[in-house]
């Protein structure tokens, strides 16, 4: 369902109902997702509406810009090697209206459960959005309305084996792409010491022909805060 639509729009899926209707020069946006309902009045606009996956750290409330993905099975990485794995992340869908070639978000919804976690200790740690994922060694299939896939390149630059149980990402760096049946990101994780690693994203799709999402965390804010994340509280 991702992509751009012209008014009137009506999308009906399991547990999801979205419509954009025009009455005179006023447009009414309605969305029902699980038990959550939203109705908004849109004045003017050219009637285009765009649905695409956005950084999954906005719901139920934007309290952090970090996403922690815990691995269902921990795994060891050989020293001095680079290995590619696939993990899944939760999908949040952003609804944008366009005017004068600019997009403005009017709604964000998700069809998966939300959970937060503390990475580190209460004094110096950070609150992260939480997701549990299995580890895959080839591209897994996933329902794009529920989960996306991260292609994660892990580099162990140390001289010791590293055991990985989780990875933390900064939403300011996320580069999300979507296709007909997949939502994806490409990321890197560089293990720098026994319990320290750096994560960052790569701005390219994992398959050809995928479209780039309009992101909520804009480049303007990236300059101020940086895009990489240093995992100092354990791997």
């Amino acid at each position: 369902m991702f992509g751009s639509y012209n008014c009137p729009v009506s999308i009906e899926k399991e547990n999801l109902l979205i419509s954009l209707e025009t009455e005179g020069d006023v447009k009414y946006y309605r969305r029902e997702c699980l038990d959550n309902e939203v109705e908004k009045i849109v004045l003017n606009g050219n009637g285009n509406i765009l649905f695409n996956p956005v950084e999954p750290v906005n719901l139920p409330k934007e309290i952090t810009s970090y996403l922690l993905i815990e691995f269902e099975r921990s795994f060891m990485v050989e020293p001095g090697t680079t290995r590619k794995i696939y993990i899944k992340f939760p999908v949040e869908v952003g609804v944008f209206i366009s005017a004068k070639k600019k997009y403005e978000v009017i709604d964000v919804f998700t069809m998966v459960n939300q959970k937060f976690i503390l990475y580190g200790d209460p004094r110096s740690g950070i609150i992260c959005k939480y997701w549990l994922s299995d580890v895959y060694f080839s591209l897994p299939s996933a329902d794009p309305m529920l989960e996306g896939v991260i292609e994660l390149e892990i580099m162990n630059t140390t001289i010791h084996w590293a055991e990985l149980t989780r990875v933390v990402f900064n939403a300011y760096a996320m580069k999300i792409y979507y296709g007909d049946d997949i939502v994806s990101m490409k990321a890197k994780m560089k293990i720098m010491a026994g319990e320290i690693a750096e994560t960052d994203f790569v701005n390219s799709p994992i398959n050809k022909g995928m479209k780039k999402s309009v992101e909520l965390y804009t480049t303007r804010r990236v300059v101020a805060l940086g895009t990489k994340f240093l995992m100092e509280k354990g791997l």
Binding site: P60, K61, I63, T64, N113, Q114, K115, F116, I117, L118, P122, R123, G125, I126, I127, Y130
Partner: protein, 275 residues
């Protein structure tokens, strides 16, 4: 008729000129050194103190240094001995000192508050029993908006010398409930239900792991302690929401909150005549 020696006049003027020039040079050097001190202070404190407060501290230090140089070095050059100012200064200082004792105390406390930073603007705090949100920290006083929306001004001395509880200094905090269920209810089942409910709440943190366990066997109930960690910004909402949810879901599963009760045993069997 008194005739002034032109050579003496010239030497007198040149002596005064040298003194003035020396004074100006001293002041310029003091200003430059003051500037260097302010730059060094700004570099070393910029991570510790917010910009507005740092500007005030730097100005106080810079001007204090310049005034010190004026009093100790420049005035003697111009022929004014600081010792002559001491008598007048000490009396005036005594009067001003008594009058401004609390102001200076608040000012010093304010400086230490800015350096130590136990609280920041926007924090939820409890200062000596006053609960609220920090609106402003100035050099003399701290402004709190309490939860009833009232404006409260606390002198910085009181803030600095009293116990400060900052509810949001850490990113996460824990709260707990005591849930007393009947002795006839299954405590293991109740704990399982409570844990499921906590797991479903987004702001009840996955880690640190929430706890639910039988804490004690009370007079009237089996007491289950429930401990939950939540983001500091969200904990109050979670705390308000979850207790009633726990009560409702336990009730839906046939587990009731216990009431105070007494089991009475009669020494003699109670007899009642029945028609």
């Amino acid at each position: 008729m008194n005739v002034t020696d032109p050579t003496a006049v010239v030497s007198s003027i040149s002596a005064i000129g040298i003194k003035v020039l020396l004074s100006i040079a001293t002041i310029i050097i003091a200003v430059v050194i003051g500037k260097v001190i302010s730059i060094r202070l700004r570099r070393s404190l910029k991570e510790k103190i917010n910009k507005g407060h740092l500007d005030i501290i730097i100005k106080i230090v810079q001007y204090s240094f310049i005034i010190f140089v004026l009093l100790i070095f420049v005035l003697p050059i111009l022929g004014v001995q600081p010792s002559s100012l001491l008598v007048a200064g000490s009396i005036a200082g005594l009067v001003i000192g008594f009058a401004s004792q609390s102001i200076v105390s608040n000012l010093i406390s304010g400086l230490f508050l800015m350096i130590e930073r136990p609280i920041k603007v926007g924090d939820n705090v409890n200062i000596n029993g006053i609960l609220g949100i920090v609106e402003d920290i100035s050099i003399i006083s701290t402004i709190i908006r309490n939860y009833d929306g009232l404006y409260i001004r606390i002198p910085n001395e009181a803030v600095f010398t009293n116990t400060i509880t900052n509810y949001v200094a850490n990113v996460a905090r824990r709260f707990e409930y005591v849930v007393g269920i009947r002795y006839s209810d299954d405590a293991d089942k109740a704990i399982g239900i409570i844990k499921e409910l906590i797991e479903a709440h987004p702001f009840a943190l996955k880690s640190p792991v929430p706890q639910a366990f039988v804490d004690n066997l009370g007079d009237n109930s089996v007491n289950i302690i429930v401990r939950i960690w939540s983001p500091s910004t969200e904990w109050y909402g979670v705390k308000m929401e979850l207790l009633w949810e726990i009560k409702k879901i336990l009730g839906e599963n046939g587990i009731e909150i216990a009431f105070p009760q007494r089991v009475m045993w009669f020494a003699n069997e109670l007899k009642k005549e029945v028609d």
